[in-house]
Symmetry: D2
Subunit: 375 residues, 4 copies
């Protein structure tokens, strides 16, 4: 189990679907930032189950408590403990499935890997583990916004075969995204998506989708080649999410079909910095942010737990038919929107702090720095 993410801004998460609490420790948050539960709760509210009839009916208020690291509403620079109680636990729902691993779920692999698995729900493989990610991500987001004006906005880019269509990456906001329960910015498409999800839900089935995300105002220079390039860290973060199957940045897979003469983004002066006319690069060149909007897409498979009868096998290999119980999302992407934003924030935050050390570390004299008073 590896539940620590980041090098300087390091997040450790804990919690299964049916234990007393889920949460995180955020280590390395810079001191001196105003922080309270109210900064964190909104993204948890966007993530929480039971928020609409398109999501699982499990009802959790997901109220967060800050346990440490903040005094008088200001971060101390010490680890921030974050906790959310699990309230609506119904472990009994899962009893009849004990002998049959859910197809395409983690029951079988957890059993083999650990020799044990949580009897109830998905345990640590439940999307419930993302509560800690979102709480931590909200802290990173606040810092990034205050420090550099970074804006991170994700949206539902596709549900099944239905696509959101063109999205204006310069102007899209969370308000626009949240105008529909399905969180897709084009209202016509959003309505069709909601109907598709409702239909799938009524059939006890599930459907996949794609989340798009843009990060604006990210400073030039973030990303640590060669192994911790910005896109590598984003891909790592996104493919660590439950049910994700793919990631592409900028032109992505469609860029593989282009010629260099068409794909290259010509440079052009933009205010105080060099910008690019087009942005097939997706805001990243050589693994380092170039000041243009960073945009990427994440593919999510249909949730594995479905009520439809499935022919499969027991743990012992005997033929079996599974009709899964429990409360589950028919489509994960509406709730994945804040989770994708949170992971993007964690990646950018950590790379920002890693880069900060280098900039001051340069040979530019820093004679007046209070930091050097002792030198």
């Amino acid at each position: 189990m590896s539940s620590v993410f980041g090098t300087i801004f390091r997040v450790s998460t804990f919690g299964e679907s049916h234990c007393p609490a889920v949460g995180a420790i955020v280590d390395g948050c810079p001191p001196g930032m105003e922080l309270g539960e109210a900064d964190i709760q909104p993204q948890l509210d966007r993530r929480r189950p039971g928020q609409s009839d398109l999501t699982t009916p499990r009802n959790e208020q997901d109220l967060v408590t800050i346990l440490s690291g903040v005094e008088n509403g200001i971060t101390l620079g010490t680890p921030i403990g974050l906790m959310v109680h699990n309230r609506d636990q119904r472990p009994g729902d899962y009893e009849e499935m004990q002998g049959i691993p859910r197809p395409s779920h983690a029951d079988y692999t957890y059993q083999v890997k650990y020799g044990f698995r949580a009897e109830s729900g998905g345990g640590r493989a439940s999307a419930r583990e993302t509560v800690g990610r979102v709480a931590a991500g909200a802290i990173a987001e606040k810092f990034l916004l205050q420090r550099c004006g970074v804006q991170i906005v994700a949206w539902v880019d596709a549900v099944g075969h239905l696509e959101a269509g063109a999205v204006d990456m310069e102007s899209i906001t969370r308000q626009i995204v949240d105008a529909s329960a399905v969180r897709s910015p084009n209202q016509l498409a959003a309505k069709a998506m909601a109907e598709l999800i409702a239909g799938v839900r009524d059939n006890n089935d599930s459907v996949g989708g794609v989340v798009g995300c843009v990060c604006r105002n990210v400073p030039v220079g973030l990303g640590e080649p060669v192994f911790d390039k910005l896109e590598a860290m984003l891909a790592h973060a996104m493919l660590s999410l439950p049910a994700s199957k793919g990631f592409e940045i900028g032109s992505g897979f469609s860029g593989s079909r282009m010629l260099g003469s068409a794909h290259n983004d010509p440079f052009v002066q933009k205010g105080a910095r060099l910008g690019t006319l087009t942005n097939y690069s997706g805001g990243v060149q050589g693994g380092i942010s170039n000041g243009e909007p960073i945009y990427f897409r994440v593919a999510f498979k249909p949730p594995a737990t479905i009520g439809v009868k499935q022919k499969t096998a027991t743990f012992e290999g005997a033929d079996a038919v599974l009709e899964a119980k429990g409360r589950h999302d028919p489509c994960i992407v509406p709730r994945a929107v804040p989770i994708v934003e949170s992971m993007a924030a964690l990646v950018i935050m950590d790379l920002l702090l890693r880069q900060e050390s280098r900039v001051r570390g340069g040979n530019i004299p820093e004679v007046n720095s209070p930091f050097n008073k002792g030198a």
Copy 2:
């Protein structure tokens, strides 16, 4: 700069396009494995430039020397130093481009991030840095093959709009892949791809492509949820490669368009283990290998350095026209094949060693273990 990859099997790489040498240190390789330069050279040969007229004419033999960690042809368990000299350096080729950052290359972002950049070629952003990855990956591959029979085979799945078509993931081998210089298993498609690349090259342009990869016989249980899931580590590894823009595992983006009832992989007994009838999961469930073939695809953009005239800007923002010099690949995917294999091997190797600790760490008595003699 972050040039260390892995937790237990840790690889540090070094080297730019025009410095004396490139290479790597492999820390954490298990002791007792036979190892010599001959185990490493074949993959370096498949990676090296100048191997066909579809690649850059830069001519490097890329002969590797093992500097440490091996005695009498056996690994000691100590760090393995690996070095390849840069021979065919022509820094002069780049002089006239000094003032103009190449569009979609790393010249600009390196300059801003570090305040300095290599004057010649791509420096650390050159694909030349992958020599160290491939040398290290060859060691991981040998161990995985001997220990578990793991077979890793990559191929060119697309060049521009040309696709390889169906690939039999159970039977494809490197011999089949290497039957064409373009490294695509379907010979008809390979021929068309080679013609496309040759045409693009003759136009001083470049073209993108896709590499597919399958890993067979990977033991059940590899991958460390929640952050270091197998697919997260693979995505990290692949998006750290120069010019990569996307990653998908199993059904990938197409899986996002499916219903759960169609996408779920039913379990079925396969010999001594539980297997699945279909493999939309791509060999991974809940971030952990399930014993089925792991397959994934990596999208590469067209190389940024092209001879076609490009309207762009100087570092200072003045209008400029760039006609890039230097020796470059018109299409990176044929040479990316062994690089993708190497990174896959590094990921699986590290996760194997991480899992090994857990299995023995369990509470099963290990009374006869020589390891416990002192207990």
Copy 3:
């Protein structure tokens, strides 16, 4: 702030002296171990303040709650969340000291480093942060005892100039240690130490001391040269404790005064393994455990917060006289005993899991391993 310790068995801690809770996340604990709060509470009880009149009168019951990672009393292999509420907070005690940094305490360095510091008590520099370490260490200890029979026993080896005298490292137990409140095994010495501490306390002063520790039954082979040698990790762990100033293993500083012919430990067969006749090495050779008892000593300075009037300066540099308030230990070593044991357990546990991967990683065929079923 770096509040994560360990590579595979990774502990993240959180909490200051006067925030709502302190605690830890233990990531990487092997699955399948019986675990409940009752396994953790005893060491917290030995660490807690207010346990005798030789310690701070701050009264905390320090009852631990397991938040996650355990189901039906068995570890799942997932992160174990641990929480202890802070009950007896009296931030008001510190108000009059706000302008004067306590000499030899962390007030000044925290203020400069972070630009902010906890107004109350020592914040994160308080020994209160060790609650998380001890809770995590108790889990490691249980595993090590069950898996290899490892026994870790620490004791007070000196208080001021008073020394415990010879200690039988083969037979000393926690019961023997806890026979006196001062936790020194020689009862005559313990009585004198208690009197010394009581006298120092009555003078509003403080006194330093030394903790000794032995780890028995540690398997041969633990420690990761060259940087993570066993003694290097122990030294790291011990010097990370509040108020510690020195560490020595085996012969330590006295070994520096010896000749090699006297200091070398001759090998001799001991049951199934090779042992040594003497143990100047302290159970470690070349950074790796050799099967003999590992023993080391940790020096602690006198606590910095004292009621005696001290001439010093304000944060602004003006002359000042400080008569510190608050509740503090006159001597830290009696309560440091379980903390030293806990850190030793964390080090050995992590190195055990790191070594386990190597042993199975070797080229010994593992044909019957269930782990390889998929191979």
Copy 4:
């Protein structure tokens, strides 16, 4: 094997006593620093064997080559490859010792841990592995001196029972230290130490010693509580050195015998910063540098390889007498001086870069920063 050290300034080392080369990769060195082999060679010369008749007669020039990371004499911010060839290898010297593990050396523990060990010399347990540390440390030292004026000076503080006596930590320099081959600043003591070492050498025996070290002008604020405190990282670094058995900072073990009223360092204004009148803390409070000189001592045992006949056992446990061959130091501390300095530099450098990120990471607006041009 763990051969990587540091979080941002990360050093990977490689090499055994009798392989083709030893060396290191330095990842995370800031760009823009002038660097050439001439910056590194002096410390290697101070470390190299054969420099006086007090050291091993093995004769190595230890000339370093920079393989990467530097262009036109300026660091690029990319990994710096460093290599030193092993020239004077005499593996044959060790043949007759193959069956008998040297007492107090690493032969036995390496054999059990890895199942294999280098047949010649100490392999990776040889002090030869420190070549990479010293080469890397020289780079860190240069940066620290240029950036903050940090001065690191170590000296021989004791050989056997002979002590150097009082050392003026404000004024001691490497020139003073190097005035004697034994590297102890008091010339009378140095002469006696040299005679002691010569006598021990003539008896085919060995003797231990202590190295002292001071780091001046270290900025206030370095050290990452709670686990990576400055003294914890120094202790980790020093106890990772071959033959080291103890570490103490500031008052160290003697501080454990003091009262708080005597041990506390009163604050007093010193120029632009708050300083302390005394320095029992050793320049560190709460794990963070306070601007005063950081000083510490490291105990080294007598080298294990001695020519004196030793009654011991074979690997199989049979009685044996060993008269070790090979070329070895009768006393390690004169050559340990630059090694201790190098490890101190690596620790301070890494903690400096970790702190830099925090300082800029604060909420102070940085509107004119070129780094924020893109924001």
